[in-house]
């Protein structure tokens, strides 16, 4: 099943199970089914009452989702491209995220945000906004890197009583296939997964870069370098135990993500590892991420900007030799 089909299946199953689950976003309803067709056919099955087209006004409809969530509904909001989430940023970080802390009323919405680039869509349609949200107390942030996790994490997110930012990789939508358990399948928020075992170094990653990291690890294995690949799956809260375990095991850490490296999630991981597992480290922690530039459109520039299997392979080899 494709990554996209897995997201779709999770939404479908949750909507069938719980009448409080509904979908809102630009172009999600009718016969269209969203810019990426994730909800195609949904309006037919669930009606326009539960699959609602929204006017072009993210701040308004994300805030409205907060209102619905306060009344016990479980809105799943689609932001057309993750980039446009900034338009609703105010209501997410100020109100929804802090609400339970301030007056104990839960806000159980999910925002699905198609993130990442690699498909030549330019600075306004390629961003990875996770760091903004990981920085915000009160939110949960997940970023599946496999079809199975795309389903399992979305179901967990919908059932969670907190606002969850669900970052999906539009790069993987149709290009990544994998097995997906049928029926109810929940991947608990906050648990990393060892995607590959290895002795010589650890690659810690998530989202789109999981596939790239696994490809790099395959290549390294041909040269006798066994890389462990830890897929974080959830960026907030982080699975500290899984991170420490892999550090203790290999002592060499390469962190990979698509978002800008500077002050990205990798920076936080590196800091936590340095603080909590310094004595297990056999080499300086290395990080791969985007350059400190907007995400360029032109192929040679975008390729230079982004981490990929080749870059991961090269840096991992250096690290293994350290």
């Amino acid at each position: 099943m494709t990554y996209l089909a897995a997201i779709r299946e999770a939404l479908q199953e949750e909507m069938r199970r719980d009448p409080n689950v509904l979908i809102l976003g630009e172009d999600v309803g009718g016969t269209f089914g969203g810019a990426f067709k994730v909800t195609q056919g949904f309006a037919e099955e669930f009606g326009d009452r539960r699959v609602m087209n929204m006017p072009l006004a993210e701040l308004a409809f994300v805030s409205a989702a907060t209102g619905m969530a306060l009344m016990g509904l479980r809105p799943v909001v689609e932001i057309q491209f993750a980039d446009f989430i900034t338009t609703a940023f105010d209501s997410i970080v100020q109100f929804a995220a802090t609400n339970y802390y301030r007056w104990q009323a839960p806000v159980p919405w999910v925002i699905r945000a198609p993130a990442d680039g690699g498909i030549r869509s330019g600075p306004f349609h390629s961003q990875n906004p996770e760091a903004w949200f990981v920085h915000t107390p009160g939110l949960k942030v997940v970023a599946p890197g496999t079809p199975a996790d795309a389903k399992g994490l979305l179901i967990a997110a919908i059932r969670d009583n907190n606002p969850v930012i669900y970052l999906e990789s539009k790069t993987l939508y149709r290009s990544l296939k994998g097995p997906v358990p049928a029926g109810e399948y929940v991947v608990p928020i906050g648990q990393a997964r060892l995607a590959r075992e290895g002795e010589h170094l650890s690659i810690i990653t998530y989202g789109t870069q999981l596939r790239e990291s696994l490809a790099a690890a395959e290549r390294l294995a041909q040269e006798g370098i066994e890389a462990e690949v830890l897929d974080l799956r959830t960026l907030k809260p982080l699975d500290r135990e899984a991170i420490l375990q892999t550090v203790r095991k290999t002592g060499k850490i390469l962190i990979v993500h698509s978002a800008n490296r500077l002050a990205g999630v990798g920076a936080e991981l590196a800091a936590q590892i340095a603080e909590d597992a310094f004595e297990w480290l056999d080499a300086p922690i290395r990080r791969l991420g985007g350059a400190d530039t907007p995400i360029p459109f032109s192929p040679p520039l975008e390729d230079a900007y982004r981490p990929d299997a080749e870059k991961i392979y090269r840096l991992a080899r250096e690290l293994a030799a350290y």
């Binding site: 630009e26 057309q80 330019g122 400190d292 530039t293 459109f297 192929p299 040679p300």
Partner: protein, 324 residues
Amino acid sequence: MSESSLTREQKIELYYWMCLTRIFDDMMVAYWKQGKGLGGTFSQRGHEAISVGSAYALEPDDVVAPMHRDLGCYLLRGITPRRIFANLLGKATGVSRGRDANLHGMGDLNHNIIGYISHLPQSLPVTVGVAMSFRYRNEPRVAMTYVGDGSSSAGLFHESLNLASVHKAPVVVIVENNQYAYSTPLHQQMNIQDIAIRAAGYGIPGVVVDGNDVEAVYAATKEAVDRARRGEGPTLIECKTMRMLGHAIHDGAEYVPRELLAEWEAKNPVLRFEQRLLAEGLVDQAEIDEIRQRCQVEVADAIEFAEQSPYPDPETLEEGVYAP
């Protein structure tokens, strides 16, 4: 409204820009359909009269912030077909030097053009700021921008018009009401037919124009520009038209009723103006053919230039993020 004080030469000039815009667009769409394009791209088919007619009402010193269906405005303001096509192909010779996609990032202050902001409708408040700077410096200049029917739903639309009105900013806002925002029809976007009526809420004039009639668009814009220049503040102009193709190249627009498209095809703004010019005896068919031919050559040249231009050097990735 369609009576305008344009001379014969001006009308022919308008026709040339519309023709160039249409031919550029046709050839661009064909190029992408052949699978030779890069990323996505937007067709402005049906919007020629709006982008050309409105931009024609500006003086060179005026500033404009076009959006994704305003190809005609970019061309008329002096960004060459070569630079635009190179931008579409991500080449170093494109307006954004390969940094930004399609018509995004096509700004050039040498032509008094503000680059398009993808987050709709953020170009609007920026344009209000441009206009406020003219007022601040007592310059007789005007700023103009465009929003779609969809983008006029955002809170910023309302905030910006209110701000502009309160500060009597010399700004003209063109709403391109092409009846669809991506797949969303007008009735799911708003509960009104005329977006122009919103102007009343801000105490500014709101005008409805036939967006497929270039002279009507020109006349309304000219009036609004003159008004702004006289210090009388903003005007909201709603141009009614139809988006003739999908939202972007990949979108077949199956959700749009075919009859609606047929109805609007009959109002084809380029053809209609051409027929009017012929009927008024201002041009003959030979002149029309000559102009078309000239446009075709220009666009073909632009495509060749873009194809032969180099991609940006990946070594320059980190260059150009900060101004010197």
